[in-house]
Amino acid sequence: MSSKRYVARSTAIAARVLGDETMVMSATNSTLFTLDEVATVIWESADGATPLEEIVAKKICTQYNITPEVALKDAEGFVESLAEHGLMLLSDKPIAQSTTALGKTK
């Protein structure tokens, strides 16, 4: 990938962290999705200001036994899939939007 890619959670969603997973529902069609532990890390880090490459390097590769190239390729596919369902916004520039702070289970 030649340019940086920024990712932000859509505001048209309902979401909640449930243990080590995240429940996400599209507000447009009420389809429910769950994100696993690694996907949850990317989801929670998708603040619109941090490039995906940096999220992968700092939050994934430091925690899991995976090479940056493979992790980034996986992450690219994951965020594109979320974007197709209207759950995530993608841009080559930082994304400014109202903060949708997630409630976490304690």
Binding site: T11, A12, I13, A14, A15, R16, V17, L18, G19, E21, M23, M25, A27, T28, S30, L32, F33, T34, S98, T99, T100, A101, L102, G103, K104, T105, K106
Partner: protein
């Protein structure tokens, strides 16, 4: 519920997370429905700040499904401020309203805030019947207009049809209306007691014959009607350890005054968010923990009843009938109407009732004039 939703509910149960909360913002209402179980006076509703703080606490506790109801939710002037805050906390939001106050501007804002669904009660497709139940002239027309405005945005609208003596023949008409409006149709044949325990409104419940007809209506029940109405086989070992419902397990109710209950239909006071943190009530309330301890095995009669494994017994209705581990006769009667087989509780009630006397004529001599009154099989002179 989808498989994934069931799976997540199971996970929430395991983790002790209150996945669903029903929050009533107010008991005030612009309708005066004959079957309503609420006291409509404001006895000190939570402020905007208190509700926002509660929403923050609920999000932190893991609440995902949030039903915002009342009373009439739009009677609160801060309704949209509350809804906006709930949206920021990424709840999956369902609204319950009569729609009377949803005009174009309100429909636009609801659409912009992205709710999962809006449920509106329609009692009949006949204005005279609906308006007589709500006691608000013109209310059917206004509720239908609200549905049209919401549907114009593509918002998922659910029409809730509560069945009672006054509208027992109208559900097909309401169903057709829902189809015409592009709304989902749901029907509830149960009138519940008032929150203060007053049971007088139960007289509005439809009779057993009408209930039986509903349970045998293929268009309502679906193609597996024979299976639905089949004689039950009694609970198996797994069913004896099953939880009665989600109340207190993954769901609870919060009143406009901050009182927490296991369910909107289960008025067992379990704490108040004005004095205790929501999550502390959820985890530590002795009342909620008692509700959590109940399984079918603990119920002396229901556990031996042939309906035990398939009955829709509501612990809240049982509580309102006097014992949360005891019978809910309303559900016993539904099981009977569905299958034609009386429950153990109905049999026991019948056995303990007053002995039946054949018709008898009681005549008091010497009183004139006399008027004959036929009351419960006994002719009396008055």
């Amino acid at each position: 519920m989808s498989n994934l939703a069931v799976e997540m509910a199971g996970k929430a149960l395991k983790l002790g997370i209150p996945l669903s909360v029903h929050l009533d913002l107010t008991y005030r209402c612009n309708e005066r429905c004959v079957h309503c179980y609420l006291d409509h006076h404001d006895h000190g509703e939570m402020s905007t700040a208190e509700i926002k703080d509660l929403l923050d606490q609920m999000a932190a506790a893991g609440v995902f499904y949030l039903t915002i109801s009342g009373g009439e939710i739009l009677m609160r002037r801060d309704f949209f401020e509350i809804l906006e805050h709930a949206r920021l906390r990424t709840f999956c939001i369902k609204l319950k309203t009569n729609g009377i106050l949803i005009r174009k501007q309100e429909a636009d804002r609801i659409n912009a805030l992205g709710v999962e669904s809006v449920q509106i009660s329609i009692y009949s497709h006949v204005p005279e019947v609906h308006d007589a139940i709500t006691k608000l002239p013109g209310s059917l027309e206004q509720s239908i207009e609200a549905i049209r405005r919401l549907r114009a945005h593509g918002i998922h609208v659910v029409i809730a049809n509560v069945l009672m003596a006054q509208n027992v023949t109208d559900y097909a008409g309401v169903r057709a209306l829902a189809a015409e409006l592009g709304a989902q149709f749901t029907m509830d044949p149960t009138i519940t007691p008032m929150m203060d325990g007053d049971r007088s409104i139960l007289d509005l419940n439809v009779d057993e014959a009408a209930l039986r007809e509903v349970f045998r209506n293929e268009s309502l029940v679906g193609a597996r009607i024979e299976e639905f109405c089949a004689p039950p086989q009694g609970p198996d070992a797994d069913q004896l350890d099953m939880l009665p419902c989600s109340a207190g397990h993954t769901a609870c109710y919060v009143s406009p005054y901050g009182d927490v209950y296991p369910c909107v239909q289960f008025p067992l006071p379990s704490g108040n968010v004005r004095s205790t943190k929501f999550v502390d009530i959820w985890r530590d309330s002795p009342q909620l923990n008692e509700v959590r301890s109940i399984t079918l095995r603990d119920m002396p009669t229901c556990s031996k009843c042939t309906h035990g494994g398939t009955c829709s017994r509501c612990p809240g209705l049982a509580y309102l009938e006097g014992n949360m581990r005891g019978p809910s006769y309303q559900d016993c009667e539904k099981s009977y109407a569905r299958t034609g087989i009386p429950s153990e509780n109905l049999k026991a009630r019948k056995a303990s009732s007053q002995p039946y006397h054949s018709l008898r004529l009681v005549q008091i001599h010497g009183l004139h004039p006399t008027v004959e009154v036929f009351t419960a099989g006994v002719i009396e002179n008055r």
